[in-house]
Assembly symmetry: C2
Homo-oligomer: 341 residues x 2
């Protein structure tokens, strides 16, 4: 039987495994002779993590309290511009929210605007819904639920808040709702719909990507109070760890860090774009944490990079495209630069 | 609206909040003038935690890999005597498994053998099942699902594996299963049913209580591979944090620590029993991590302890009873001893 570990387990409709970046064991299996240490550019995780405050041992030892939870919800509501802390649901990462949302709704028609992060369609499919991939908001048709990733992964496409709010209203009128996954919104000049959450709208916000702390497992749903309560009940009262509650609270309140890091990552993204162009790539789009480009021979470049110990994200359905995360330091930038020329 | 934070959110059937220990903010609200620092004896969390190995920063930064997950599953399978690692589902605490199990089954009749940990009945009720509290295995009747906590919390009652396995077989024959919550089994001379898991049996194992690391959020389901896969899919591939995967693996493999700590906690429990008897209490039962006793005036003792800054667990339905966790150090033992005489 398949199991719930990453990589070999996340399965979509019909049991097809969903491919993910971020697992260097997969890279090593593909390229057993590659140069070590590997450079992992297969994710959109910030390579310059938030400097964690010292963690008191009590955070590991005692059960998180209601006050710990409430404090994080307040901080997250301010950071995301959400109308109330009651609409914030902290979770051990957004993935579990992506899994849980579909299980709180009777089977219906779901439109996923894509191509996008594959776990959305897979999770709705696993929960028994009828999933239809559509290429734009206009294609949502009479679906009851729609999913939009904004900015989109992997192409970085941004949709205006106005269009999303109009869609949410339409879906709400037929008893459904819109899921807006703002996993990569923190560093971008996109207009978040968090201030407008209501019964027709659920927003997902990732913590680990922006703050470079994907192993901590923290993410949020921003919703109306009723749906927030239903989601929170499905997770139970202590799903988020003590360290995640404490670090999340410190990091989300640190606006100067966010601003400085957003500027630095914009510089990184521009530098990566220049390298991609030099290597013959045509930029498709991205965010400050990843760039996606088409290459005359994508599979060959993926192989050359892999053999050199550089793991990027490829897409089975679009073999010419590769997605590059940001190198972490001078050494990684140099190794990548030598390959992209 | 109620929210998912601990204390003010976990709700049972009909929306009644489920009372829990471990939240000193509640203690402070009850006894605003109490002596600080509080001694929290309201939980069954080991006060002598496992000494965490140094945590590499990469555990916080990168997404946990399939290999990290597989290694923890292998270690847990050995620690619990489970037949295969494929039947092990790591989760961010057992509470989320208690919430998730009922949502994977169509509404049915569920018997909870109690009085016991209140979240079981509450979670099955929240998921739409018909829950019947019963006082013994014989009362399970024609329910499809039954829940037994072994050893039981708060009275420490132990049920023989043979009786549980026979019940599991009966339930399986009618398309149901038995949940055995072995949250407090690690330190006890009870016969675990983990080696016998099959389609009629799901075992829950807590990590944070035994190892004194409740804030880390780690727990396990032990099941047949098929149910394990369904549970794992509901949690998604990255619900457990990098630090929890690493610490869990080290701690579960450390049999000498477990043996030494079990012996030390047995000494603590005996010492607590002597104090309880001196204070006029009649021991009802317990485990090495908590003792439950009846007192001539339970509410008065709860109040006297609270005013002295010692928070124990009381039970709305059984006001004469109090449950004591273990003091952490000499200072806490002395303060408790002065009150129990």
């Amino acid at each position: 039987m398949s199991q719930g570990g990453p990589g070999h387990s996340a399965r979509g409709e019909g049991g097809t495994p969903v491919a993910h970046g971020g697992d260097l064991d997969q890279a090593r299996a593909l390229f057993p002779g590659a140069l070590e240490p590997w450079i992992d550019l297969s994710t959109g995780i910030n390579p310059v993590p938030y400097p964690c405050p010292p963690l008191d041992s009590s955070l590991f030892q005692r059960l998180p309290s209601a006050a710990d939870h409430a404090a994080l919800r307040e901080t997250a509501a301010r950071a995301y511009g959400a109308p109330t802390a009651a609409g914030i649901v902290p979770a051990p990462g957004t993935q579990i929210l992506i899994e849980t949302l579909p299980r709180l709704m009777a089977p219906c028609d779901v439109a996923v605007v894509g191509p996008t992060y594959a776990e959305h369609a897979a999770a709705w499919g696993r929960a028994g819904h009828t999933v239809r991939p559509v290429s734009d908001i206009a294609g949502v048709g009479d679906a009851r639920v729609a999913v939009v990733v904004n900015p989109n992964n992997p192409d970085g496409r941004v949709r205006p808040a106005q269009a999303l709010l109009a869609l949410a209203e339409t879906l709400q009128a037929r008893g459904g709702f819109l899921v807006v996954d703002e996993a990569f919104a923190d560093f971008e000049p996109v207009e978040s719909v968090c201030p407008q959450v209501g019964p027709g709208l659920v927003v997902l916000r990732s913590f680990g990507k922006t703050f470079g702390l994907a192993g901590l497992r923290l993410g949020f749903a921003v919703a109306d109070s009723e749906r927030a309560a239903a989601l929170a009940a499905a997770l139970g009262p202590w799903a988020v760890s003590g360290p995640a509650l404490a670090i999340g609270r410190a990091a989300l309140a640190d606006r100067p860090w966010l601003a400085a890091n957003a500027a630095a990552r914009a510089g990184d993204a521009a530098r990566l774009d220049r390298m991609i162009a030099r290597a013959g790539g045509t930029l498709i789009g991205g965010t400050r944490l990843f760039r996606t480009a088409a290459f005359p021979d994508g599979p060959a470049l993926f192989r050359r990079l892999g053999e050199a110990g550089i793991y990027v994200r490829r897409f089975a359905e679009r073999p010419s495209q590769l997605r590059f995360g940001l190198p972490a330091d001078k050494g990684e930038w140099c190794r990548l630069s030598r390959m992209l020329r």
